[in-house]
């Protein structure tokens, strides 16, 4: 017995096929059948008039916290937050307790994700055993278990020799290293961007150069090894330039930016609210502009959230004791549409490319497309919907978002995973 779903009359935006037109999308048994005028009579029909119909959004940088820090988030709550935010796939970062450096841990996450039965969870494995930065994790075995990329995020791969070996070694699996770029000596003790605001507030600064120097090192290592480097959460104008120059030289480098880094500046710290504390930190207006320019010209390939939930009691501390991190899954579409599309900086095809096509391609997963025969992961977005963020209504377990009560434009109204409607905005 076939199960069919018809999305009728939406604006279908699929950069993987160069499609941007009003059309119908027919899904059968969890796969996309066709984009084109369809007859009625499907088992289920969604009127998509006025909505963007996009390949399911992919967030390649999410901290689901499980195993080990279930007080902040679990695979179940995190993936529910993902579908509420329009994401059909997330890649979870391995800085858990224990870190994801064995097949057993990868398997555990897959099991939990299957039980949660919400969105796809792709596992990122550790670069180094126990995330200690001393020796490589068993990367080949992790690939065998399904790891799609490797990262010690939360911290940089500090030893340059280890980073070189990681890039070399991963190249035989064609897997990227997702790099948190930070020279720790330069940022030690810091809680915010180093600049006039940190000077005025007397808060220890994390200079932009701490990020730039490491991006410089890693692009050089990617160049010399031919390995694949993905620069996570670029926050500085200098970082954008370094990635742009490396790409021009043909280095295999990609990059992501987070919504908070193209929305907020370090001025936000003036209220001493730890919800504005994240790493890398909020920078200056010039950095914000450089990141947006990087998204516009493609230097920054994709948008990722760095969703980093922390239980309220951890964030309700003095600014230097509170942990780094900001939630992102449930505000990413709204912030990106508001800051990038509504302002005319990019069009819908580029946004969908940055939030679906390219992250899927970087991770090497068969998602991010509505090509007939592909898995029917689809996100419906109301491009005009003006809505107010309410952290209390979040599906996530934590509330550390500074965007509470912000009015945003653009919101996912339905999230379809493998042909099944997993989320509908009521």
């Amino acid at each position: 017995m076939h199960q069919t779903l018809l999305l009728r009359g939406g604006r279908v935006v699929d950069p993987s096929q160069g499609i941007d037109r009003i059309d119908d999308v027919l899904v059968r048994d969890g796969l996309v059948v066709a984009i084109g005028p369809a007859e009625t009579g499907a088992d289920e029909m969604i009127d998509a008039t006025g909505l963007i119909v996009a390949p399911g959004l992919v967030d390649m940088h999410v901290h689901l916290r499980e195993p080990g820090r279930e007080e902040d988030e679990t695979i179940e709550t995190g993936t529910r937050a993902a579908i509420a935010g329009g994401f059909t796939s997330v890649a979870c970062i391995p800085n858990t307790e224990p870190p994801v450096d064995t097949q057993a841990t990868v398997e555990f996450i897959h099991q939990k994700a299957m039980r949660a039965d919400t969105c796809n969870v792709f596992v990122v494995g550790c670069v180094s055993r126990n995330r200690e930065g001393k020796e490589l994790a068993d990367i080949g075995q992790l690939v065998e278990a399904g790891a799609v990329a490797f990262s010690d995020d939360g911290a940089p791969v500090y030893d340059a020799e280890l980073m070189r070996r990681a890039l070399e070694y991963c190249s035989m699996f064609d897997k990227p290293i997702l790099a948190h770029e930070e020279v720790l000596e330069l940022s030690r003790g810091g809680v915010m961007n180093e600049g006039i605001v940190s000077l005025l507030l007397g808060l220890a600064g994390m200079p932009a150069s701490a990020e730039d120097v490491m991006i410089g090192r890693d692009t050089a290592l990617a160049e010399s090894t031919g390995g694949r480097l993905h620069v996570m959460h670029v926050s500085t104008a200098g970082g954008v330039d370094l990635v742009r120059m490396a790409k021009a030289r043909g280095v295999r480098v990609t990059a992501e930016a987070c919504p908070h880094h193209f929305t907020l500046t370090d001025e936000a710290l003036r209220g001493f609210d730890s919800n504005y504390k994240m790493s890398p930190p909020l920078r200056t207006a010039a950095d914000v502009e450089a990141i947006i320019a990087g998204i516009v010209d493609g230097t920054i390939d994709c948008i990722a959230t760095d969703h980093a939930p922390h239980a309220p009691e951890k964030k309700m501390l003095e600014l230097d004791r509170a942990p780094f991190g900001i939630m992102g899954l449930e505000t990413a579409v709204g912030l990106s549409v508001t800051r990038l599309v509504a302002t005319g900086r990019i069009g819908w095809p580029r946004l969908i490319e940055a939030m679906s096509t390219l992250p899927a391609r970087i991770l090497g997963i068969n998602r991010g497309t509505l090509r007939p025969g592909s898995v029917a992961d689809i996100t419906l977005i109301d491009p005009e919907c003006a809505w107010q963020v309410d952290v209390k209504s979040f599906c996530s377990k934590s509330v550390n978002s500074p965007f509470d009560r912000w009015t945003l434009r653009g919101r996912a109204v339905a999230t379809i995973v493998a042909g099944r409607v997993k989320y509908r905005l009521t």
Binding site: I196, G202, L203, T263, T265, F272, D273, Y276, L282, E318
Partner: protein
């Protein structure tokens, strides 16, 4: 000893804050009102020696998460001179060492029916966070390297007592600007009252970025000494350094200590301040610290006067025209959209 009578019944209408968190967000008029109030209390108490009862029945808690001797003593004395009860609460030996958060600690004290907390903490912004969450007044007695408003006020009070007016005078703040809360409070107070400020020290302690505020930055003490009417010599805060920002104490003193030689090239009536505790031989030599132009001990007495003024304005009974406090408003700055 005769002195003017000053036993006000209500806080003047020009003052609307229940908290004193920083000088950055006070207006010049409010700073002047604070200084004038301090001045009247100083006179009315015969140089801060006698007791009034304007805050009788009020309870002030010294909530010190970081060690302090002189500031805590000064606040305690000032509160007692106004007739208030004072309780000292220090972090060591309290629930904090058992893992209680600073907010819970403060909320517990608040539930005991106090009127104000005087807070010192090593982290910038902690008094601001408390002010958002408590219903009682919060007075910042130093939050990390951010601000120390009563120290800034007492420095300015001491200068004003000698010079009458700050408009157009040149004040050099010398030394560890990076880690000095005193520097930041002085900077804001001085700028607002019309003084010209020069920040002086090595670039590792005095960032050229300060120029973005429109203040002068110099790395050469010898070059600025002749132009200054006041020098405020800030202590090197060795305890707050990650890596040493200069090669040696000897080299620092060679370049930046205020000594007899440099004093010779200064204006004859140069005033010298140091917020203390002073490191003799580092930022100031002993002969200069004890010279006639030194206001170092006046500063300590004036600290009492200023803290009386602050406690009265923040804790005293409001008149019918008393306004609404705006000093703890959360900032909406930083939003680009």
């Amino acid at each position: 000893m005769s002195h003017t009578h000053f036993e006000p019944e209500t806080v003047p209408p020009g003052w609307s804050h229940r908290h004193l968190l920083d000088l950055e967000r006070l207006s010049p008029e409010e700073i002047c009102l604070l200084l004038d109030t301090a001045s009247r209390f100083k006179e009315a108490t015969g140089g801060c020696r006698q007791k009034l009862s304007v805050l009788a029945g009020r309870t002030i808690v010294n909530l010190f998460f970081e060690n302090s001797t002189r500031t805590r003593t000064s606040f305690s004395l000032a509160a007692r001179r106004l007739g208030a009860d004072v309780i000292d609460f220090s972090a060591s030996g309290s629930s904090l060492s058992k893992g209680e958060s600073f907010i819970d600690t403060a909320k517990n004290l608040e539930a005991m029916g106090i009127d104000a907390v005087v807070v010192r903490h090593s982290t910038p912004g902690t008094p601001h966070l408390l002010a958002q969450r408590l219903d009682v007044g919060v007075i910042n007695a130093g939050d990390g390297p951010h601000e120390h408003p009563t120290q800034g006020l007492l420095d300015i009070f001491s200068i004003r007592e000698r010079l009458g007016n700050l408009t157009g005078i040149t004040v050099g703040l010398v030394g560890d600007i990076a880690h000095s809360r005193t520097a930041r409070s002085n900077l804001w107070g001085l700028i607002k009252l019309g003084a010209k400020v020069i920040l002086c020290g090595p670039p590792t302690l005095v960032s050229p970025r300060w120029r973005e505020l429109g203040v002068e930055v110099s790395h050469n003490l010898d070059a600025i000494v002749p132009r200054c009417d006041v020098l405020n010599l800030l202590r090197i805060q060795f305890e707050r350094q990650n890596t040493r920002p200069f090669p040696s104490v000897r080299e620092y003193a060679y370049l930046y200590a205020m000594n007899k030689e440099r004093l010779k090239r200064a204006k004859k009536d140069l005033l010298i301040l140091a917020p203390g505790p002073i490191n003799r031989g580092v930022e100031v030599t002993a002969d200069v610290a004890d010279c006639p132009q030194s206001l170092i001990l006046n500063q300590v007495t004036n600290g009492l006067a200023v803290r009386m003024g602050v406690l009265w304005l923040t804790c005293g009974p409001r008149g019918r025209t008393g306004g609404v406090d705006v000093s703890s408003r959360p900032s909406s700055a930083g939003r680009v959209a």
